[in-house]
C-alpha cells in the first residue's frame, strides 16, 4: 500500500495486560494501528475501552505485553530500541486531558512552553541557541494557538480559564515542531464554547507544520469530525472498525459505532 510508505508510527500486534498473575486483566488484544506523516488519526471508544493505554504504548510511555511499536520504521521496544525511543520522545509532543494537572502551577505560561526547547539535546537542529531565540519561539507558539504573548507569557495557570490553559499546553506540545502530536481527550475537561478554540489551535498547528502526524483520543464524534482524516474505533480492547472519517461516520458498520453516532447528534 502506497500510504504505508509514509507511515511514521506503527503499532503491530499490540497486546497489553495489567495486574499480577492472579488478577491479570487484558486490556488490548492484538491491535494493529498506524499513522502517516501529516495525517490526523482519531482513536475513539468509551471509557475503559483501552484507547489511552494504546496511545501511551505508541508513544513509548507504556510497554506492550506483546507486539512491537515502530517509529520511522525502527522498533522502540527493548534494549535494542532505546535510541529510537529517545528519538521518538524528542520528536513528539503530548496534550493531556486536564491542563490544570498537566501544567506546573508554579510556572508561568512562558516558562512551561519554553521547557521542551530547553530539554532538547545540544546537537538537535530544532534546539534554540539562546534565551532570545527561545523567547521568540515561545511567543510564536502562543500566538499560533490564539493567545497574545504579551498578555499570556507571564501568566500562571491559576489566572487562566480551562480553554486558555489547554491552549498553553498545546503551545508547549508543538513549540519544538514535533513529528507526532498526541492529544488525549484534550477537550473533555473544557467548556463547550472553549472547545472550538482548541480545535482552531490544533488546526493552526497543522497548517504551520503540515508533516506533523496527530493522534487524537476522544469519545466525542463531533470533535473528531472536525479534525480527523481517519478513525479507529476501539471497543473492549479490540479495533472493531476503522476507515476514513467520512466512511466511518456516514456508513458505520458496527453496532457500537452506530450507537456513538446516534448520541453525538444534537
Amino acid at each position: 500500500m502506497s500510504e504505508h510508505d509514509n507511515v511514521i508510527l506503527e503499532g503491530a500486534n499490540i497486546s497489553k495486560s495489567f495486574g499480577t498473575k492472579r488478577t491479570r486483566q487484558q486490556v488490548l488484544f492484538d491491535v494493529n494501528v498506524h499513522v502517516c506523516a501529516g495525517e490526523c488519526l482519531a482513536v475513539i471508544g468509551e471509557s475503559g475501552s483501552g484507547k489511552t493505554t494504546l496511545t501511551r504504548i505508541l508513544l513509548g510511555l507504556e510497554t506492550p505485553s506483546a507486539g512491537d511499536v515502530l517509529f520511522s520504521g525502527a522498533s522502540i521496544e527493548g534494549n535494542a530500541g532505546r535510541a529510537q525511543l529517545k528519538l521518538l520522545r524528542e520528536q513528539s509532543g503530548i496534550v493531556y486531558q486536564n491542563p490544570f494537572e498537566s501544567l506546573d502551577p508554579r510556572w508561568t505560561a512562558g516558562r512551561s512552553v519554553a521547557e521542551p526547547l530547553r530539554l532538547l539535546p545540544k546537537q538537535d537542529s530544532a534546539r534554540a541557541r539562546d534565551d532570545e531565540q527561545i523567547g521568540a519561539r515561545v511567543a510564536d507558539a502562543l500566538e499560533l494557538v490564539g493567545l497574545p504573548p504579551a498578555e499570556f507569557v507571564d501568566r500562571y495557570p491559576m489566572d487562566m480559564s480551562g480553554g486558555q490553559a489547554q491552549r498553553v499546553a498545546i503551545a508547549r506540545a508543538i513549540v519544538k515542531n514535533p513529528r507526532i502530536l498526541l492529544a488525549d481527550e484534550p477537550m473533555s475537561a473544557i467548556d463547550v464554547a472553549a472547545r472550538v478554540q482548541i480545535l482552531d489551535a490544533l488546526a493552526a498547528s497543522r497548517e504551520r507544520n503540515p508533516q506533523m502526524a496527530i493522534v487524537i483520543v476522544s469519545h466525542d464524534l463531533g470533535v473528531v469530525q472536525n479534525i480527523a482524516d481517519r478513525i479507529v474505533v476501539i471497543h473492549h480492547g479490540r479495533i472493531v472498525e476503522q476507515g476514513t472519517t467520512a466512511q466511518v461516520l456516514n456508513t458505520p458498520q458496527e453496532h457500537y459505532t452506530k450507537e456513538l453516532i446516534a448520541v453525538a447528534s444534537m
Binding site: E46, S47, G48, S161, G162, D191, V192, A193, A194, R195, V196, L199, H219, D220, L221, G222, V223, Q225, N226, L249, N250, T251, P252, K258, E259, L260, I261, A262, V263, A264, S265, M266
Partner: protein
C-alpha cells in the same frame, strides 16, 4: 415543587459571584442553567440547597414552595433538603463516600431523614436500584469497583431515594463518555417526569440542555443575560454570549448522512 429566586446576590470573601439573579422553576418543570466555568452556576444551585461555603454571603429571596430559605438555620435546611430536594453532583467518583457500599450509600438519606424499619429501607433501596438500572449484585460493592456510569446511577439513586420534589443536577454527565452521558440524561428525565418532580439542570453544553430541559436561563459573568424556551434559544439566540454557546454546540455536534437513521435505530434499541 416550585422554586423562585428574586434579586439573589452571592459573594465569596467579598468578591461578587452572582448579581441580582431572578429565576423560577415551576412545579413539574425541567429548567436548565447554562454558562461557562466560573460563571457562578454551581453557587446558585448551592444557594438553593443551603450548601454555600461558610465564607459566602447571600442576599435576596429564595422561596421553596413559598418558604423563604435565606436565613434558615442549618437544622431547618437539613430537614428541607431531606424531604424536598435531592442533588446529583458532577463527579460521582468524588461525591460518593468511598467507604460505603452501594447499598449503604443509597440507604443513608432514608436513615437520616425517615424513621423506617430496616426491612422497609432495604426494600426501597432495592426498588430504587432497579429503577436506575443497577443490577442487584452491585449493591454489595464499593464505589471504586464500579464504572463511571454505574457510579452516577448510584448518585442518582441516592438523590432520589427520599422522593424529593426538586432535583438539582450539577453537570451530572461532564465526567462521563458520550454514550453513558445520553443514558444518564435519559434516565434522569424519565425519573423526574415519572415522579412529577421539578429539575434544575446545570451545564455548559447546549446540546445536553436540548435533551434535558424545556426552559433555560443563560448565565454570563454572574448575571442572567437571556432566558426562554430551550428550543427557542437554540433556534434564535439573541445575546452574543448565547450565540457563542449555541454556535459551539452546533460546530461540535455531528453532521452525517446516517445520523437520522442511526438515531432511530438507537431509540428503537432503547425501547427494546
Amino acid at each position: 415543587m416550585s422554586v423562585t429566586l428574586s434579586n439573589v446576590n452571592i459573594s465569596i470573601a467579598s468578591k461578587p459571584i452572582v448579581h441580582n439573579i431572578s429565576m423560577e422553576i415551576r412545579d413539574g418543570q425541567r429548567v436548565g442553567l447554562i454558562g461557562s466555568s466560573g460563571s457562578g452556576k454551581s453557587m446558585i444551585a448551592r444557594a438553593i440547597m443551603g450548601l454555600l461555603p461558610q465564607q459566602a454571603s447571600l442576599s435576596g429571596t429564595i422561596s421553596v414552595n413559598g418558604t423563604q430559605v435565606v436565613g434558615m438555620s442549618d437544622n431547618e435546611l437539613a430537614n428541607l433538603r431531606g424531604a424536598a430536594m435531592g442533588m446529583v453532583f458532577q463527579n460521582p467518583a468524588t461525591s460518593l463516600n468511598p467507604l460505603l457500599r452501594v447499598r449503604e450509600q443509597i440507604e443513608l438519606p432514608l436513615k437520616l431523614h425517615y424513621d423506617l424499619p430496616s426491612d422497609d429501607r432495604a426494600a426501597r433501596v432495592e426498588a430504587m436500584a432497579r429503577k436506575v438500572g443497577l443490577p442487584a449484585e452491585l449493591l454489595g460493592r464499593f464505589p471504586h469497583q464500579l464504572s463511571g456510569g454505574q457510579q452516577q446511577r448510584v448518585g442518582i439513586a441516592t438523590a432520589l431515594i427520599t422522593s424529593p420534589r426538586l432535583i438539582i443536577a450539577d453537570e451530572p454527565t461532564t465526567a462521563l463518555d458520550s454514550i453513558t452521558q445520553r443514558q444518564i440524561i435519559d434516565l434522569l428525565v424519565s425519573l423526574v417526569d415519572e415522579a412529577h418532580a421539578s429539575m434544575l439542570f446545570i451545564t455548559h453544553d447546549f446540546s445536553v440542555l436540548a435533551h434535558a430541559t424545556q426552559y433555560c436561563y443563560v448565565l454570563g459573568d454572574g448575571e442572567i443575560i437571556e432566558r426562554g424556551r430551550t428550543a427557542q434559544l437554540l433556534d434564535a439566540p439573541q445575546h452574543d454570549y448565547t450565540k457563542t454557546l449555541v454556535h459551539a454546540a452546533q460546530t461540535l455536534s455531528l453532521h452525517t448522512d446516517t445520523r437520522s437513521a442511526a438515531h432511530t435505530e438507537g431509540a428503537h434499541n432503547e425501547r427494546a
